[in-house]
Amino acid sequence: MKNENLSADDQGMVDLIKDNYQAPDLGRMDGVRFDEKLSARISKSQGLAWGPWALAFAMVLVFVAVGVNQKRPTPSMPEAAITAVEEGSFEDLEWFDNLVDEDELSVEFEELPEEYVAMMMIMDSDSDEYDDY
């Protein structure tokens, strides 16, 4: 096709590209093979259409199951208690007892770094309440 906006030179170049750069089988293609492959591909894609939804649903189920079975999250050690340990002002055990209840405390002690436990043992050397640690 002659493009009115092109110079004769450019038109020549475009024609050169057009004539020499086309799919080799295009002229002979009757479309049957292409259509057969396309049909198969569409059928496959329809089959797979539920795939992502099924996967998402399965993932939700897994998350719920994991969430239900997961151990109740351990409350974090109150910031004030950690500061008290670090600053060595942990003599007042009554104050500490009031800060966290026994159940939570036992969990927290298991997770405390060894040096904190050691510090607390030194500070509370008169007490045999936490001998297990």
């Binding site: 092109l6 050169l16 590209i17 750069y21 292409f34 396309l38 591909r41 569409i42």
Partner: protein, 181 residues
């Protein structure tokens, strides 16, 4: 209209789309994918699959041909990006290292030259050049397909022609060399 009738009408419309656009789509993809016929076929098929899925939502605000070519061009861009990624991490994609080129391309110097010249263009420049000059879409249709203004299309066309003029200068000046290659 029952659901069955809707599906039948949809299938008929889709078949018409495939019959009308198959050849032009393959030609466009071939020319935009460095003359890789296998890749062109794969990309066009994927574009048709996407069109089939989206066809129920096509509102007819543009020509169906323009709508389909928008899908096709995006698919071509996606393929080209994917190919660039493969080139970046060849070890992860060893099974695809031997990307077969059509036999006709392998020993055809002129086609190879044209392919290389087109590859130096940006995606947009290549798209507008192929759509307007090789596939004979109008400037307005091309702008619709690429979702940009006609001015932008013209600007990309100008740059594409300028680049091709330089890259293929020797071919234009010495037609006998072209024939010899």
């Amino acid at each position: 209209m029952s659901r069955e009738e809707e599906t039948t009408a949809l299938d008929a419309r889709f078949s018409e789309l495939v019959n009308d656009q198959r050849a032009r789509a393959l030609s466009t993809a071939f020319r935009m994918l460095g003359g890789d016929q296998a890749a062109a076929e794969d990309v066009v098929q994927e574009a048709f699959v996407r069109a089939y899925r989206a066809l129920p939502r096509f509102r007819g605000e543009s020509k169906i041909q323009t709508w389909f070519f928008t899908i096709l061009i995006r698919q071509i861009y996606t393929y080209r990006r994917w190919k660039k990624l493969k080139a970046l991490w060849p070890l992860d994609f060893e099974e695809n290292v031997t990307d077969p080129k059509p036999a006709a391309m392998a020993d055809h110097g002129l086609r190879s030259r044209i392919s290389k010249a087109l590859e130096t263009l940006s995606d947009r420049q290549r798209s507008v050049f192929v759509l307007v000059h090789l596939e004979e879409f109008t400037i307005v249709e091309t702008a619709e397909i690429l979702k940009c203004s006609s001015g932008t299309v013209k600007s990309h066309l100008h740059r594409a022609l300028k680049s091709l003029r330089t890259d293929l200068a020797d071919l234009r000046q010495k037609p006998s060399v072209v024939e010899a290659s």
